[in-house]
Symmetry: C2
């Protein structure tokens, strides 16, 4: 059957059956035309998506930004042919775009979906992330937007092996997210063979029920059953729902259906032709489901500029930058779009200051750092400005989520406390010594590392208006406030704390090492050596102009001190900047944590790592010889 | 009661009760003397550990390296006062060391346990890692050592929120690890307040049973009950056991028992005195439990040097480095200590070549990258040489595990395929663009990035004898073999592929960009410009001597091209090395992936990122102007 019909709304199941075949055919056509992609992983879930699109997804396709719309997230992002075929069926992507754009250079129909498309909330393709992201959107919907929209997620069965899926289900039930419905496409075949649990829906059901969700186990190719459970799944307000759909990979084409060896492979053209014939040929249905109900609340998120009064500190007082983070965040709470969450260490990161002031906008994520980041991404989808905090070391747990957040174009703010050996007795497991490298390498990221409370508070405020992934590194101990409350700290700037035209060497630090640089400059001065000192609070973007000038004045002689491993942190940032800015003549002493630290006091560990003032002064003297 | 007794073996429960109080007292004494630490988190689990040490842990304390010993892993590493008090009770740590060493600078009794201690297998302290590591040890015990030892793990209740715990339980049941017994210390209080599930042992039990383990729920302060379930837990050969122990944090001291606000805080001295009194005073019991049964099989792991014949390739043939990885790994399989595992993409990473040749030493980890790394760490504990592979991008999922593996002094080999925009149509979610930065920043790591099959195979062999965390970055597409089979590739070396004393500029690449550098050199030569070309296959350690010489010859003019984000990768490695080696005069053009890529062909995406030969040649011309 071929032919065009005008848009069907609330289609009957006979039409839905046709729509499902169309989705399969278009998944095959698009991937075969592209020469790559995952048609068989799309075909298994086509019946689910046909029913959802036609009868349950409340979505105004003409207004994708409408706050009343349901959300649809493909956690199995490799089923992009299916998603894009859904967009075609909804009438928002043309057949021509699907056939000539899919996976092509410059096209928005990328191999895995990203928010380059207006109907896509988050980038997926690294498995086990769509569901955690959806938990964030659903949290926003239930607790902040207080809206009626639902969040639908298509999961693959292979990704149920990712721990992050269970972090998500745990939080979905803890927070009673009745607005979250996950559909698991259990086609029993992964990339290189059968999945762990194959079609053992009972085990999936037991696990998911134990994690607090309602489970509906069905034949994923029975349209009536799908329709029935989708209706039921949306009826309960305080419990997430999971639809376990037993499906067959490649469903509808006998040459590949339920067969191994067909993951991630387009059908060769002749085979595609036979498949399309077996599926009843091409169709050109346009089908839309229900609109959001009238009277859905308008988006509540606003930014009330000017309401924020940052904390102020007295120069010389000893205040930990992590404390300034908490106080500044609490001050930012005057902005109703600011939300905060933490990984069960809010009394260490001082996110608790916000939690106490704005409990309704604070979300405890417990010790689940992947879900911590995913929740932030989800809040960002709904226009909120999320601040997520934990020990800086433990953001390594969520690096894949942070990387994907950048692809998702998420605007999220991260604060990592307890950086470096400075933390002292707890030992290396708690010391962030890779975080600057990790965060700098994220596309479009901002990396900030304040040395005092005044700059920390100012940078927290700056992060709240910054696009992309912003990261603040804070320190455990209290160190003297260096700056008056009026001082400004533009992102991309730096502060020259000591300078003269006669400077012979530049000392560059941030965080705890800046204080050591200042002390070292004093020691050097008493020995007749003039040292310039730079507070490099903005590690990325970096103040290349000030660094270049300092290098020019001081004969290219730099001492860079950082409480971080030698690779990818402050030292790399400085030499990357200077060597990227034209001819560079440099003599660099780079002090960093080069041996595995143990326990001890801050002072002992910083000294052992060669980061104390005397080491910095000594390094300066060495490069002046 | 105070006083010294000689070592008690197989102590009765009355003695065990005294031992438990001693463990509590010593946990308090050590943390109070240190001024930091987690006494209350130790006191809740003291009864569990007392019974285990005295009656169930089969361990020859005089021979900690004995392959017959049981293993004991503190997944809740912050309970180190308890662990070290156990070591004291076993007679291997003196009271003086405990009291003067704990958390002190230079001491082996660090804030969280590390394998600096001979009785500690792995570093813990980042929660949710001990149990996954233990799964690796148990896999080795059951399938490779085929030994009778058991792996005991103490988990905290807060860490049950980490997804990695569920990855571990899933794999423990999938692989029928009856030799694994986890004890969960459910003291209901986390760092900043109650846990998600508090004392809801039923929910814990349902979840854990659904994940395939046998569950024993008990009062964790009932010594007879603990004794009974520990005996039962070791009776089944093919199912892991989890003991859910309902406990009270700070058990035994009424001023803190089951109270909030006492996490991670030592008792002040006067309070410690009252606590010790309430606990019945100091004791000096030495208690050891059963030895491993006689006739436990000796360790099977040996290395048969010389048995390995690496694959060879013909210069000019197009072979993907990922394929060379698989073939070299299969060749290395001749060494019986080599084991391999993969995250369900072995047909992409080519770990399948090993899996086909040595199925008994291949372990499928499905899509659970955290467990993938943890399993490797566990195999390493038993002396095997693990190779773990997945898409390079997906190692970001396990960065915390990789970081902790370095603290664990693990010797593990990682291979990440599908690096950079070169992968083409799949899009950015599948592109590793942060992996070099991430892996370089790991303490003591080795980072390798071969450009052809010959060097890839040689480096795989070199990794197998390398200490620490070794990482190989491989490329999706096939590129010409550059080197004859006889060529050697020492770690820390590089290859100068084109050079003359008249070279004007140095082109530095690795992986796909090296081929572009070679083509660019040809283009430049036809324009009268002589370019030196360096294959920087060893990114860390790096060949500073060759780079320095090239910089000297070519007036410091370098073009560095990498299929990676600009931060922390090849470019940083080169400028870090050159600026770290004395006065450096450099003019650097650094070509890297600076914009978010989409889909396309390899050629389109490399060209769009500015990494094609013409861009490299153009950059070289620019810096020669």
């Amino acid at each position: 059957m071929t032919g065009t019909t005008s848009a069907v709304t609330g289609a009957d199941l006979a039409t839905v059956a046709e729509l499902a075949q169309q989705l399969r055919v278009d998944s095959i056509r698009s991937s075969t035309s592209a020469g790559s992609g995952h048609p068989t992983s799309s075909m298994s879930a086509a019946d689910l998506l046909a029913v959802l699109l036609a009868r349950h997804l409340r979505y105004d396709w003409d207004q994708p930004a409408s706050p009343a719309n349901d959300h649809l997230i493909f956690s199995k992002g490799h089923a992009s042919p299916l998603l894009y075929s859904v967009f075609k069926a909804a009438g928002v992507v043309s057949d021509e775009e699907l056939m000539t754009g899919y996976r092509r250079f410059g096209s928005r129909l990328e191999g895995h979906p990203t928010p380059v498309l207006p109907w896509v909330d988050v980038a997926t393709g690294s498995l086990g992330q769509g569901l955690p992201d959806a938990v964030g959107v659903a949290l926003a919907g239930k607790y902040l937007d207080r809206a009626d929209y639902r969040v639908w997620v298509l999961c693959g069965d292979s990704e149920m092996a990712e721990g992050s899926i269970w972090e998500a289900l745990d939080k979905a039930s803890y927070y009673k997210l009745g607005n979250l419905i996950a559909m698991v496409d259990i086609n029993r075949l992964g990339q290189r063979g059968p999945t762990e649990l194959s079609w053992d829906l009972d085990t999936y059901a037991r696990r998911i029920e134990a994690f607090g969700a309602r489970v509906f186990a069905i034949d994923g190719h029975d349209l009536a059953a799908i329709d029935e459970v989708m209706a039921q799944a949306t009826l309960t307000a305080d419990q997430p729902a999971v639809i376990l759909a037993r499906t067959r990979k490649g469903r509808g084409f006998s040459e590949v259906e339920d067969r191994e060896g067909w993951h991630g492979k387009p059908l060769p053209p002749a085979m595609a032709e036979r498949a399309i014939e077996e599926l009843g040929g091409e169709r050109a249905l346009t089908v839309r489901g229900p609109l959001p109900p009238p009277g859905s609340p308008a988006r509540a998120v606003t930014r009330e500029a000017g309401a924020v009064t940052l904390p102020s500190y007295r120069v010389g007082d000893k205040v930990a930058t992590r404390k300034a983070y908490g106080q500044a965040l609490a001050a930012l709470g005057a902005r109703p779009d600011v939300v905060a969450m933490d990984g069960e260490v809010s009394n260490s990161t001082y996110a608790e200051d916000f939690a106490q002031a704005y409990p309704e906008r604070y979300f405890e994520m417990f010790i689940a750092e992947q879900q911590l980041i995913a929740a932030a991404v989800g809040f960002g989808v709904r226009g909120y400005r999320p601040f997520a905090s934990t020990f800086a070391a433990f953001f390594t747990r969520a690096y894949d989520f942070i990387r994907m957040a950048a692809i998702s174009q998420a605007n999220i703010c991260l604060s990592g406390s307890h950086a470096g050996v400075e933390i002292g007795a707890d030992g290396p497991s708690q010391m962030a010594l890779e975080d600057l490298a990790m965060m700098r390498a994220v596309h479009g990221s901002t990396v900030l590392y304040p040395s005092d409370a005044t700059s920390a508070a100012a940078l927290v405020a700056a992060m709240a208006d910054r696009d992309g992934i912003s990261y603040l590194r804070t320190t455990r101990g209290g160190y003297p406030v260096l700056y008056d409350a009026g001082e400004t700290f533009p992102i991309g700037g730096s502060k020259v704390l000591r300078s003269s035209p006669a400077d012979q060497v530049t000392l560059i630090g941030a965080g705890v090492t800046l204080h050591a640089c200042l002390a070292a400059a004093g020691q050097l001065e008493s020995g007749g050596i003039r040292a310039r000192v730079i507070d490099l609070y903005s590690v990325k973007p970096i103040d290349t102009a000030t660094l270049t000038e300092a290098a020019a004045v001081t004969g290219g002689r730099l001492v860079i001190a950082e409480d971080h491993h030698p690779e990818g942190g402050l030292g790399s940032a400085v030499v990357d900047a200077l060597t990227g800015a034209g001819r560079a003549e440099l003599t660099v002493a780079h002090l960093a944590v080069r041996e595995m630290p143990g326990s001890g006091t801050s002072e002992e560990l910083l000294d052992a790592a060669g980061l104390s003032a005397s080491h910095i002064a000594s390094a300066a003297r060495s490069i002046l010889e």
